[in-house]
C-alpha cells in the first residue's frame, strides 16, 4: 500500500482514490443545487417586494377565536380516532404479514418475497401521493382516510416488525421445532415474548406519525380538525386558524411528552 503524501509534503489521512471520491461528491452536490435553483424559477424580486406585508399578516393572526373551541375538540377527537383505528388495523395486519415475510419465520419464500415487494412499493410511494390515490378511488371522507393511514402503517410496521423478528436468534426456533411445535406455536410461545417490547416501541413511535398524518389528511378534506383548519384558512378567519393551530400544537406536544414518560417507565 502506497502512502499518500499531499502537495505540501504532509501525510494524508485518505488514499488518492478516497480523496477523489469526496471531491467528486462535493462537486456533484453543488452542481445539483445550482441546477435545482435555476429550475424552480425563484422570483426573488417579487418575494422581497412582498416582505413589507409580513407585519400586517402576523397581526391578523394575533387573536384567538374561543367560540370554536368545543367544535374543534370534537373534530380533534375524530382525527385521533381515525389515527388510532388505522394504527390498530395496520398493527394487527402487519403482525401477520411480518411473520410471513421475515426470513427466519417465513413458511414460503415466494409469499415472503411477495409481501416484501408489496411493502417496499407502499413505502416507495410518498405518503401524500398514496393518500390522494386512495381518495381518488374511494372519495373524500373518513373511510378513505383510515384506509390510506392503515396502508402507510402497514408499510411502516411490516418492515419494522420483520427486521425485529429477523434479529432473533434462529437457535430459539430450532429448540421449539425440536419439541414438535407447529409454526403457530413457535410464533406464539417462542417469538411473541421476545419481540413484544420492540413491537410496542415501534407502535408508540408510529402513534405520533399517525396522528399528524391524520390531521394533514383532514386538510385535504378527510374530516377531523384538519378539515376545519383548511376551511378557516380558505375563508380568511385568522383568529380561528390561530386557535386551531394552537390546539394541534398542544395536542402533539402532550402526546410526545406522554410517550416519553411511558418510554422511561418501560426502560426502568
Amino acid at each position: 500500500m502506497n502512502i499518500n503524501v499531499n502537495g505540501n509534503g504532509k501525510i494524508a489521512l485518505s488514499s488518492r482514490s478516497q480523496q477523489m471520491t469526496s471531491f467528486l461528491i462535493a462537486v456533484g452536490a453543488i452542481g445539483l443545487f445550482v441546477i435545482s435553483l435555476t429550475m424552480i424559477n425563484l422570483d426573488l424580486v417579487a418575494f422581497v417586494g412582498r416582505l413589507y406585508r409580513i407585519p400586517h399578516i402576523l397581526s391578523l393572526f394575533m387573536a384567538l377565536e374561543f367560540s370554536i373551541f368545543g367544535e374543534a375538540i370534537g373534530e380533534l377527537v375524530v382525527s385521533i380516532a381515525m389515527a388510532l383505528a388505522a394504527l390498530l388495523l395496520g398493527g394487527v395486519i402487519s403482525l401477520f404479514l411480518s411473520f410471513l415475510a421475515a426470513d427466519n419465520t417465513a413458511p414460503s419464500k415466494t409469499v415472503a418475497a411477495a409481501i416484501k415487494g408489496l411493502v417496499s412499493t407502499i413505502r416507495a410511494i410518498p405518503n401524500i401521493v398514496l393518500i390522494l390515490m386512495i381518495m381518488a378511488a374511494l372519495g373524500l371522507g373518513p373511510v378513505a382516510a383510515v384506509t390510506s393511514l392503515t396502508l402507510s402503517s402497514i408499510g411502516y410496521f411490516t418492515k419494522a416488525f420483520a427486521s425485529t423478528i429477523e434479529e432473533q436468534d434462529t437457535a430459539l426456533i430450532e429448540s421449539m421445532r425440536a419439541t414438535g411445535a407447529s409454526w403457530f406455536q413457535i410464533l406464539v410461545h417462542g417469538f411473541f415474548p421476545n419481540v413484544m417490547p420492540s413491537f410496542l416501541a415501534w407502535i408508540s413511535i408510529r402513534l405520533e406519525m399517525s396522528i399528524s398524518e391524520s390531521i394533514s389528511l383532514g386538510v385535504i378534506g378527510a374530516g377531523g380538525i384538519g378539515t376545519m383548519l383548511s376551511r378557516a384558512i380558505r375563508t380568511h378567519r385568522h383568529a380561528e386558524v390561530s386557535m386551531l393551530i394552537l390546539i394541534i400544537f398542544v395536542t402533539m406536544l402532550t402526546i410526545e411528552i406522554l410517550l416519553n414518560i411511558v418510554k422511561k417507565k418501560a426502560n426502568t
Binding site: L172, E174, S175, A178, T179, A181, Q185, H189, N194
Partner: protein, 270 residues
C-alpha cells in the same frame, strides 16, 4: 438390558451441503436405554448426524427408523409427532429468555398439545405438576417464576433438561450440552442427564468432545471422523491409540482434548 429392543435404526445416512459431503453413509442401531456418546474432531459431522435424527437437518439419503416409521420420509404433522417423542438438549440451551422458567419447561408439551389448547397458555394441572416436580428434582424449585435469561448457564441447561424430559421422550439427543459450562456445572449437568435417562429408560445420543467424560458415562462410544463411523463399541475398549486415530491430523484438538481430560480429572476426581 441384554434383551433390549431396537429403538432407532439408521441406515446409510448421508448428508451433502452444496458441494461437500458431510455424512458419508452411517449405519447405527440404538437399543432402548443405551447411553451413546459420539466423539470426533470438530467438523467431523457429529452435529449434522444428531440433527438428522429429529430432522432439524434434512438428510440427503438414507433411512431413520424410529417408532415404526422412517423419520427421513415424514412431513408436516407426522414429522412434528415424531419430534415430540424425541427430546433435545443444546449447547446454548436455547431457552426463551423473556419467558419464565416453568413456562420454558412446559414448552416441552407443545408438540403433544393442539395449537388452540396452547394458545391460551393453559396446560393441564398434571403437566404443571410434572414440570414443578422436574424443576425441584434439578434444584430449581425456588426459581420457577424467574425469567430464563436471569439464570446462570448451568441453571439454564437444567431448564433445558427439564424441557426435554417434559416431552416424555423415548430418545434424548444432546449436542455438546456441557461445552459452554465450567467443569463443576458440567459435572452436575452430566449427572442429572445420566440420572434422569437411566431412571426413565430413555436412550440418549450425546455429542461430546471430552473423551474422559464420554468414558465415564457412556454405555457405548461412537467415533465419527470425516463423516464416517470409525469406532463403535464399549468405552473400555477404546484405547489411547484409537483415540489418537480418531483425532488424527487434528493435533490442536488433541491438545485441547488432553487439557479437557486434565480439567475433567480435577472435576470428576478420576
Amino acid at each position: 438390558m441384554a434383551e433390549a429392543n431396537t429403538l432407532l435404526k439408521i441406515s446409510n445416512l448421508k448428508k451433502q451441503y452444496s458441494k461437500k459431503e458431510v455424512l458419508k453413509g452411517i449405519d447405527i442401531e440404538i437399543k432402548e436405554g443405551e447411553f451413546v456418546v459420539v466423539i470426533g474432531p470438530s467438523g467431523a459431522g457429529k452435529s449434522t448426524f444428531i440433527r438428522c435424527i429429529n430432522r432439524m437437518v434434512d438428510p440427503t439419503h438414507g433411512a431413520i427408523e424410529f417408532g415404526g416409521t422412517d423419520v427421513a420420509k415424514l412431513k408436516g404433522k407426522a414429522l412434528r409427532e415424531a419430534r415430540s417423542n424425541i427430546g433435545m438438549i443444546f449447547q446454548h440451551y436455547n431457552l426463551i429468555g423473556r419467558t419464565n422458567v416453568i413456562k420454558n419447561v412446559l414448552h416441552g408439551r407443545l408438540g403433544h398439545n393442539s395449537f388452540f389448547k396452547t394458545l391460551t397458555g393453559s396446560y393441564s394441572d398434571a403437566e404443571k405438576r410434572e414440570a414443578l416436580t422436574l424443576l425441584q428434582k434439578v434444584g430449581l424449585g425456588d426459581h420457577i417464576y424467574k425469567k430464563a435469561n436471569a439464570l446462570s448457564g448451568g441453571q439454564m441447561q437444567r431448564v433445558g433438561i427439564c424441557r426435554a424430559m417434559m416431552q416424555d421422550p423415548k430418545l434424548l439427543l444432546a449436542d455438546e450440552p456441557i461445552a459452554s459450562l465450567d467443569p463443576k456445572s458440567a459435572k452436575v449437568i452430566m449427572d442429572q442427564i445420566h440420572g434422569l435417562v437411566t431412571e426413565r429408560n430413555i436412550a440418549c445420543i450425546m455429542n461430546l468432545h471430552q473423551v474422559q467424560v464420554a468414558k465415564d458415562y457412556a454405555t457405548r462410544i461412537i467415533g465419527i471422523k470425516d463423516g464416517r463411523v470409525v469406532y463403535d463399541g464399549a468405552p473400555a475398549d477404546l484405547t489411547e491409540a484409537m483415540i489418537a486415530d480418531i483425532y488424527e491430523g487434528k493435533a490442536e484438538e488433541m491438545e485441547l482434548k488432553t487439557d479437557n481430560v486434565a480439567v475433567g480429572e480435577l472435576a470428576y476426581g478420576v
